[in-house]
């Protein structure tokens, strides 16, 4: 297989470009999108590469159509992705719910910008954390990953595809304008070095009869893609194990929704990753995610130099959320600080996790600039 970009070596590229290349290496062969700052470069790279690798890149009429198209593509057997920013992400929410309900593996990149509304198109923000987790209606769960470097944008994109396929779920790669437009050195591995996960297909006719059941006991049913003769019916209505609508049956609804949520909750250990830095003997913990964690690393160094036993917990997976881990952390430290580029979205989750075992303080910043390390240090030392 020939790739339209160098593989097996490093390249100096933007976050958006890294996401596009990673998607192609992860096996993505269908991209549908609608231009929006600061995510457009993902689309532009996909438009350039996709025809060359026999994939599809298509500009749809809006974001609603874009996510609809990738869900259709996924049911036809493709690994599929779309990318957008806050306003477009809002438009996609209904179909994100549809993808959750129909257990369709797709990847949605949300390059956050300042909001609400059209807000600050070119500036960075972390204002979509709650939207990514809770944007669609009804009881649901999905996976949200958050990179902090261009290399992580690359690595997490591959991981997003693998998790989507493994758990038959939409995965949101939640990044921001700062990472999207920043150029950094990225190692692009050889395709044979990359671990690729493909969706579980039905082994036989019998398995294909239960596209929404739990025949393997792991909560993830095999996915009978269209055109294989299985005659699968897929609906966003509450459906039984065979996919038949059962909209007024409370038991069927509860069984379906609980399985969809449990298949992620029960596999938290596999889905959730984080990086701990100087946390073993820490008395002060900084919990953060995305671009802000880079300032936080520096802040921890400065604090240690000043004799403050500080440590950092950088969350790579924002959802599912490991509330227990935060509680354990809260039991070990005196105080937790949550620096984030919004008025307190991750803070709510951390505070709930801490469960009163330690004080949790928000270090908020909005307007488009990332916290400087000193802004974090000054808040910690008072």
């Amino acid at each position: 297989m020939r790739y339209p970009f160098p593989v097996g070596k490093s390249d100096f590229i933007q976050g958006d470009e890294a996401i596009a290349r990673a998607a192609i290496l992860a096996g993505c062969r269908f991209y549908a999108g609608y231009p929006i700052t600061p995510a457009s470069e993902i689309f532009e790279a996909m438009a350039l590469y996709m025809p060359l690798v026999d994939g599809v890149s298509i500009q749809m009429e809006d974001e609603i159509a874009s996510i609809a198209a990738i869900i259709g593509a996924s049911w036809a057997g493709a690994k599929a992705m779309t990318a957008t920013s806050g306003p477009g992400f809002s438009l996609m929410q209904e179909n994100i719910g549809y993808a959750i309900m129909t257990e369709t593996p797709i990847v949605i990149v949300d390059v956050q910008r300042g909001g609400p509304s059209t807000g600050q198109p070119t500036l960075a923000a972390q204002g979509d954390i709650m939207q990514a987790i809770w944007g669609t209606h009804g009881d649901h769960s999905l996976i949200v990953l958050s990179p902090s470097t261009v290399q992580e944008a690359f690595d997490f994109t591959i991981r997003a595809f693998n998790l989507a396929e493994k758990y038959r779920t939409p995965v949101v790669l939640l990044t921001d304008a700062e990472i999207a437009h920043m150029r950094e050195r990225v190692h692009i591995p050889n395709p044979d070095e990359i671990e690729i996960v493909n969706r579980k297909l039905p082994a036989n006719e019998e398995e294909a009869k239960y596209p929404f059941g739990d025949i393997h006991g792991d909560g993830v049913p095999p996915m009978p893609v269209f055109g294989k003769g299985y005659r699968t019916y897929v609906t966003g209505l509450t459906h039984d194990e065979r996919g038949r609508p059962k909209t007024v049956d409370a038991e069927v609804h509860e069984r379906l929704i609980k399985r969809i949520i449990d298949k992620l909750e029960c596999n938290k250990a596999d889905i959730i990753t984080y990086d701990a830095y100087e946390l073993e003997d820490a008395e002060i913990a900084i919990v953060t995610t995305g671009i802000v964690s880079r300032s936080a690393v520096r802040a921890v160094k400065i604090l240690r130099e000043r004799g403050v036993k500080a440590g950092l917990l950088k969350l790579n997976t924002i959802w599912p959320f490991d509330f227990d881990m935060i509680e354990e952390l809260a039991e070990r430290v005196k105080k937790i600080y949550v620096p984030e580029m919004n008025l307190g979205q991750l803070y709510h989750l951390v505070k709930e996790g801490a469960n009163g075992k330690a004080e949790v303080e928000l270090i908020s910043k909005i307007g488009g600039e990332v916290h400087t390390p000193m802004e974090i240090v000054e808040r910690v030392v008072g």
Binding site: R2, F30, A32, I58, I64, A68, I70, A73, Y233, V234
Partner: protein, 281 residues
């Protein structure tokens, strides 16, 4: 034309465990569905190579009743989903079963853009001038003066002529009939299914319960008589002055052309890309 007994069609194509359908007495969706299945049967198309897609509403429940791969999606978005399916697997033939609200209101943008792209899909459009499933609200196809729960004093807006819209947007095949024109209906669906690119067969379809009741036509036969009054065959309409056509609906075949479909266009685009990059001669 030889018409097979209906039970043979039913046996072959319907999901028995999903019956009875949700449709009200006198509803026309079953007829349009029967014509579609007869067209598939007559053409000898492979059941495993057809995917049915739909949005929301009464007509959208059709993919659930037929024994094919099917995607019952969100309101108005059927054609956007279909775009992903078709471009991923061009071997699949796609039938989109849509309602008039689905296609012309909430999905209006998807509709015109799918036609503009000449997406390879056959749309069977149920036009009953109303939102049947949600209880008879007025639709963008409703002729002036028709009543709906959200226009209790009679529609004051101008209606969309869906077939006209499809012709202007560039569809390869466009026809409109009432569900009582069964031979023309079946023949048109057969033509549509064999077309590359976008094909549309629109059916004026009775909805006595949600629509008819509010417009003094409580039964299907009453709606049939009304269709007879308001429909004008295309050949006749061409000779009529515009003022006589006011409030009438023209039926017939409006477009039959062979512009390249989206699949073929994208295949050519891929070749062009590889050539421009020097990957291929």
């Amino acid at each position: 034309m030889y018409l097979k007994p209906a039970y043979e069609i039913r046996e072959k194509y319907l999901r028995k465990d999903m019956l009875p359908t949700i449709f009200c007495p006198g509803c026309g969706i079953g007829s349009a569905l029967q014509y579609t299945l007869r067209a598939i049967d007559d053409l000898g198309l492979n059941q495993d190579e057809i995917v049915w897609v739909s949005g929301i509403g009464c007509s959208s429940r059709v993919p659930g009743f037929v024994n094919f791969d099917g995607l019952h999606t969100t309101h108005g978005r059927a054609l956007a989903f279909a775009t992903g399916i078709k471009l991923t697997n061009p071997d699949l033939k796609i039938i989109a079963f849509m309602g008039d609200g689905d296609a012309a209101a909430i999905g209006g943008n998807h509709f015109i853009h799918a036609i503009r792209r000449n997406l390879d899909v056959t749309v069977i459009l149920i036009n009953n001038f109303t939102y049947g499933m949600t209880g008879g609200q007025v639709a963008p196809t409703a002729l002036k003066g028709l009543k709906g729960t959200t226009a209790p004093y009679g529609q004051f807006e101008n209606p969309f002529d869906i077939a006209d819209l499809a012709v202007s947007a560039g569809a390869n095949y466009v026809a409109r009939w009432s569900v009582f024109n069964y031979l023309q209906g079946i023949n048109s669906i057969k033509k549509a299914l064999q077309k590359e690119g976008f094909s549309l067969v629109e059916f004026l379809s009775p909805c006595p319960i949600s629509f008819g009741r509010r417009n003094r036509m409580k039964t299907s036969p009453e709606l049939l008589r009304w269709y007879q009054k308001i429909t004008v065959p295309l050949a006749k309409a061409k000779k009529m002055p515009p003022e006589e056509l006011e409030g009438k609906i023209v039926i017939g075949e409006f477009a039959d052309r062979d512009r390249p479909g989206l699949v073929r266009e994208y295949e050519a685009y891929k070749k062009r890309a590889k050539k421009m990059m020097g990957w291929e001669e």
